[in-house]
Amino acid sequence: MIAIIKYNAGNISSVKNALTRLGYKSIITDDPEAILNAEKVILPGVGEASSAMKYLIQKGLDKVILSIKNPILGICLGLHIMCDYSEEGDTKCLNIFNAKVKKFPNRDIVPHMGWNNFNSIDGSLFNNISIDNNVYYVHGFYAEICSQTIATCDYIEPFSAAMQKDNFYATQFHPEKSADIGEQLLKNFLEL
């Protein structure tokens, strides 16, 4: 079973729908036991960092996430939550990745919204995906590039498109909305 962590972020059902299309069963839950027993966990997220962190702490889910041993994938805000700190709402995050989340400077349109290709990709999460492939982004904040960055993208500034440390994976883009390339990435994660 795949657990999708339920928290106060919008449109969580789109991740569940994507998994259903790939033939995987999933549950949307905030039950610690269900999350810890799941073969794979997804931390989705469209929302705001400080209220998301506040909610996770309130429910004790911050500690649950940190103790997950199976592969977990953070998406968009989920990636930010796994970083050290976010400028969005001046938020201390889970500090899994050693990177800060910053606001895009206003030199170009913000948010970064639409399809973008990669500057670099690395690792099994990107099996059968090439740097010229495009994935769908929508975000006003980005994670700096650090030693745990496994894919990079460029919009105003170079940033982390995906990150990994041990069993913790995260993407800034939305694989659940990234057509066939997104499905390939989800498949790669689910087959880890």
Binding site: G10, R21, N106, V110, P111, G114, N116, N134, E183
Partner: protein, 250 residues
């Protein structure tokens, strides 16, 4: 590099697509799901579903349709038409819409933009502007273009950004339906006066019209309905053409 988006718009009436031609690869062009899937396969970057009936009785039909679309479609989609309140928005987002498009309701009650942005995030608030050039000025029209206002288009665009709108869908009524090209002047003026994405709409008739709007204005997306719906310009062909013209396209 961030790509320019090609966005087909599907007009929905009583849960059905307003009838176009039957593409070879789909059995029923009146079925929004089938048509949407065909657009996705052709390479559409996003989809917009516009409920043109938008009566209370049809609302439930629309919600059911949105749920089905969310299950089947693997790219972002926007739902618009007849959205008047935060409750309308909430129902559509919960059903699986990635974004909602509001128009007359935002003009009547601009704080609705902020209310939606606060609750669901700016990224899901598309504010549609219907604009018309009259007496030497671009002004905002409401109620499907039937009612004029005294609001200047550029002023309204800036207000939308200030209030938390995530995107502007700009339709020139002078160009809509003419197939003579997008309104390059107002599209460029609006995109230069705000720092949020602007989607150009109204007037697309040829592939070159998309090239023009991407080269000559700051629009990050181009929306069209009939040329895609009636198969006049297949999306894949349009995208291939734009690529050879060195436009950043997925």
């Amino acid at each position: 590099m961030l790509k320019k988006r090609i966005i087909p718009c599907l007009d929905i009436k009583n849960g059905r697509t307003v009838k176009g031609i039957n593409f070879v690869d789909i059995k029923d062009a009146g079925d929004p799901i089938e048509l949407a899937k065909s657009y996705v396969e052709q390479g559409a970057d996003e989809l917009v579903f516009l409920d043109i009936t938008a009566t209370i009785e049809n609302r439930a039909t629309l919600i059911e349709l949105v749920k089905k679309i969310a299950l089947e479609i693997n790219i972002p989609f926007t739902v618009g038409g007849g959205i008047n309140s935060i409750e309308d928005v909430s129902k559509l987002i919960k059903a699986g819409a990635d974004k909602v498009s509001i128009n007359s309701a935002a003009v009547k009650n601009p704080s609705l933009i902020t209310e939606i942005a606060d609750q669901f995030g700016s990224q899901c608030v598309v504010v549609a502007i219907d604009t018309k050039f009259e007496n030497n000025e671009w002004k905002v029209f409401v109620h499907g273009g039937r009612t004029s206002t005294e609001i200047k288009t550029i002023y309204w665009a800036k207000q939308i950004e200030k209030l938390g709108g995530g995107e502007i869908l700009l339709t020139s009524m002078n160009n809509d339906g003419t197939k003579a090209g997008f309104a390059l002047d107002i599209t460029d003026q609006v995109s230069k006066s705000v720092n949020i994405p602007v989607i150009a709409s109204g007037g697309a008739g040829t592939k070159a019209h998309f090239k023009d709007v991407f080269e000559k204005t700051g629009a990050t997306g181009g929306l069209a309905a009939s040329i895609f719906h009636y198969g006049e310009i297949p999306i894949q062909m349009l995208k291939n053409y734009l690529k050879t013209e060195k436009i950043a396209i997925r």
